[in-house]
């Protein structure tokens, strides 16, 4: 025992350099076998080449004039042209709608207390404010436009304070206010005949990113309830209801959206009475919503199928009637289980709003393309820059949606229960 105390008590040797720190990480993740080493070098070469040529193109060759020229028109399309809005400046109307969205985002931030909601709210406000300071002359972007853009920051703050310090700060109220804000937006954009300053703007002039967002929000808000109804109908024991739902779902899932859209152009005006307002916006909204709800129904049906029958049986045993069992027990769990699929469908719907070009609507993509086609000599070479920019815009929206969905899943503890 005594000899044991003779051994000097030194610290144990640190692990070799190849197993710790950055070097260890590099060994473990990049060079842990001969083929991984080869792969690393190949991919590094590809990456370097891509960056080299990509950055070279962006810095030296690319020409973003087409984006700068289009500017705010990419967001509102032809909404503010002289023909759409004679003798007035109508730009403030979409801008006020944006303020409503900012306030709602502020409320969502306060209610959820989540860092993602916070980032989105602040992000929207910061981007809007940043646009207000674009180095344009005042003729191209008036003071009123800039001020309304800057106002997004106080709008977020106001929404946050409203939800924090008044009884409006609950999920129920934000849903109600959201629906209200949507209706107000529609009225604002459409205008009211006879009201000064709110002269009607025909929907054929609605366009740009505004149109994509409007169609997407409408489609998302309506396709979820319709999809739930269809899913329940398809699982129902009542043969007539089941048959109707199956036929509806399969027909809308079997035909491409673009085909449905261009069919709607002729069929919808024929099918409705002549005095019925069947403008292209209405048609696009209806077709996109129905198309999306057919997919939504299948997603929700998948969730219902994956649910253990014991859940519904337990609810029935506790004495809940059928509809309460469905709405309080089965449906919430089913939806929670298929959140990724549902949000995937939302994303898909948003991307699909670009297809309205086929019925002659100028969404953000088609508006820019039409502009380039009209000024080929000057802007044709700017096509890749334009497409890249549009891709980036859509990417930000879609990626945010999938990010939020992952966050919601974490909150609901999917996979942990």
């Amino acid at each position: 025992m005594a000899s044991g105390t003779d051994i000097p008590q030194t610290d144990s040797l640190p692990p070799p350099i190849t197993e710790r720190g950055i070097v260890g990480w590099v060994y473990a993740n990049l060079f842990n076998s001969w083929y991984n080493t080869v792969l690393t070098f190949i991919f590094a070469a590809i990456l370097v080449l891509t960056l080299w040529f990509g950055l070279g193109w962006i810095i030296l060759e690319s020409d973003w004039r087409v984006i700068a020229t289009l500017g705010g028109n990419l967001i509102i399309g032809q909404y503010n042209i002289e023909k759409a809005c004679p003798g007035q400046d109508c730009f403030w109307r979409p801008q006020v709608s944006l303020l409503l969205v900012s306030a709602l985002l502020g409320m969502a931030w306060a209610i959820s207390g989540d860092r993602v909601a916070k980032r989105i709210a602040i992000g929207v406000a910061v981007v809007s404010v940043a646009f207000a300071f674009l180095p344009y002359s005042l003729e191209r972007m008036g003071l009123d436009v800039r001020l309304l853009l800057v106002a997004n920051l106080p709008a977020v703050a106001a929404g946050w304070a409203l939800a924090r310090y008044t009884p409006l700060g609950s999920v129920r109220w934000i849903v109600i206010l959201g629906v209200l804000a949507f209706l107000v937006t529609l009225v604002l954009l459409r205008g009211l005949p006879g009201v000064p300053g709110l002269q009607p703007v025909s929907v054929i002039y609605w366009g740009g990113l505004m149109l994509n967002l409007l169609l997407a929000v409408t489609g998302i808000a309506l396709s979820l309830p319709i999809g739930i109804a269809l899913a329940l109908g398809r699982r129902s024991h009542l043969p007539v209801v089941k048959l109707l739902c199956v036929v509806f779902i399969e027909v809308f899932r079997g035909v491409p959206l673009i085909t449905l859209l261009f069919m709607s152009q002729v069929l919808v005006p024929l099918a409705f009475p002549e005095d019925f307002p069947t403008n292209s916006l209405f048609r696009a909204g209806v077709v996109i919503t129905l198309f999306s709800s057919a997919y939504m129904a299948e997603n929700i049906r998948g969730g219902l199928q994956a649910l253990h029958p014991g859940q519904a049986e337990a609810a029935r045993a506790l004495g809940l009637p059928g509809w309460q069992t469905t709405m309080l027990i089965s449906m919430p769990q089913a939806i929670r289980n298929v959140i990724p699929a549902i949000v995937g469908q939302f994303i898909s719907l948003f991307k699909d709003t670009t297809l309205v070009y086929i019925i002659g609507m100028l969404d953000v993509l088609e508006f820019g393309r039409a502009f380039i086609q009209g000024n080929v000599a000057e802007y044709l070479d700017g096509t890749p820059e334009f497409l890249l920019f549009i891709a980036l815009v859509f990417w930000v929206f879609c990626y945010t949606m999938s990010y939020v969905s992952r966050r919601v899943e974490e909150h609901l503890g999917v996979g942990q229960r």
């Binding site: 991919f43 009542l238 261009f262 670009t354 086929i358």
Partner: protein, 406 residues
């Protein structure tokens, strides 16, 4: 037992001892009948409105136009087509165009998707990150934007006369890519040889199956893959030689593309038009980003213990992936994969935007002169048939690989 006594009339209000307005069965059927009637009325008024409108506004209708000459050129076509062909035939040509894009696209997208999906879970950080960026970028950008981008790239290729020529055989220019393609001197000999080749493939496959069974039952090495493959190749080669000797020509030659005439137009070989090239590139990349996620989820759904057990039995990493993980992952992968393939087929209708003559594009062109409603019906039937075929394949496959006892 609380059945209300009384007159015949109050008796009618009861069914099986329960008042009818509270009897589940009766309520259900009443609801069904009402909803059925509502839908039937809606659909009927919809069709009645359409028929009335067609008659009132003198819109042409009916299917008589199908046998008339279409008299409109179709860009790229895989079936022989001339402007004097009928509407019905032109419609078939367009359907073939869609089906070919669908089949080629599905094969390429699945292959690329599997590669990217496996790269996503690679132990190599650089590889998995690159795959992640690929997936997250391409699936979050509208397909239409991507198609326009690829089409723009194709259009910026040099014109035909200044096009790229690769070893005198491959011509790349803004009209498309021309590649050497097998072409038979006479179709009779070619068809005979194709029949022989088909028989050889079947013979090889049967042999492969028999030898595999033998190997599994007896444990004696029987080399099923080598024997089966060799049988196929040798049988097809003998058929080739016999036909060459009998007809004096090989059943298939190679047609090499070459510039032709004063405008240097490329003739011979096979030309993949610019629209088709852009469409395929866009569809394959877009769909592969979805398939990659499906493949990744499928592989990750197989328990870690499976891989570990395979590795401890001495299988190499790739062998463990191929023989243990992948077959089990397939069960999870196949259903969403089929639905992605169906999506690809439907998304090919975006070809209308870049000038490839698919079903929707040709249908859209036809509506300018032919009765629109009839064409819509044809389009719906064609697409529904395609999607039903996919579902059928999916269901058959699902039944085969389903876990026993499920």
């Amino acid at each position: 037992m609380s059945r209300a006594p009384g007159s015949f009339l109050t008796g009618l209000a009861y069914y099986q001892g329960v008042p009818v307005w509270r009897h589940a069965l009766i309520i259900q059927w009443a609801l069904q009948i009402v909803s059925g009637i509502v839908v039937v009325v809606l659909v009927a008024s919809f069709f009645a409105n359409i028929t009335n409108a067609i008659q009132d506004r003198n819109i042409p209708h009916g299917f008589g136009f199908l046998s008339r000459e279409y008299q409109t050129p179709i860009g790229q076509h895989f079936l022989p087509y001339e402007s004097s062909d009928s509407y019905l035939y032109a419609f078939g040509v367009a359907a073939t165009n869609t089906i070919i894009v669908s089949i080629v696209g599905v094969i390429l997208a699945t292959a690329l998707g599997i590669v990217v999906g496996v790269a996503r879970i690679s132990g190599n950080w650089l590889v998995s990150r690159t795959a992640l960026v690929y997936v997250e970028f391409f699936r979050n950008v509208p397909l239409l934007v991507q198609l326009f981008f690829w089409f723009y790239i194709v259009l910026t290729l040099p014109p035909v006369r200044q096009g790229y020529v690769i070893v005198d055989k491959l011509y790349v220019n803004n009209a498309g890519i021309s590649v050497p393609w097998p072409s038979p001197p006479s179709w009779d000999a070619a068809l005979v040889w194709m029949a022989i080749a088909l028989v050889s493939i079947i013979a090889g496959a049967v042999l492969h199956r028999i030898l595999t069974r033998r190997e599994e039952l007896t444990g004696r090495p029987s080399y099923p893959l080598i024997t089966g493959g060799a049988t196929t190749v040798v049988a097809a080669a003998i058929g080739w030689l016999i036909i060459s000797a009998a007809s004096g020509n090989a059943p298939f030659g190679i047609s090499v593309p070459a510039p032709h005439g004063t405008f240097g137009r490329i003739a011979g070989g096979f030309t993949i038009s610019g629209g088709l090239m852009a469409l395929l590139t866009g569809l394959v990349i877009y769909t592969s980003s979805f398939i990659a996620e499906i493949v990744r989820a499928g592989i990750q759904s197989v328990g870690r213990g499976q891989t570990e057990a395979a590795r401890s039995l001495g299988l190499a990493p790739m062998a463990a992936l191929r023989h243990i993980t992948f077959p089990q992952a397939l069960r999870v992968i196949i259903p969403p994969l089929i639905s992605q393939c169906l999506n690809l087929t439907k998304n090919s209708s975006l070809a209308a935007a870049i000038g490839y003559a698919d079903l929707t594009n040709v249908g859209k062109t036809m509506t300018q002169i032919a009765p629109a409603v009839s064409i819509y019906i044809l389009l719906m039937v064609a697409y529904l048939a395609m999607s039903l075929t996919y579902s059928l394949i999916g269901n058959l496959y699902n039944r085969r690989i389903r876990l026993v006892g499920n």
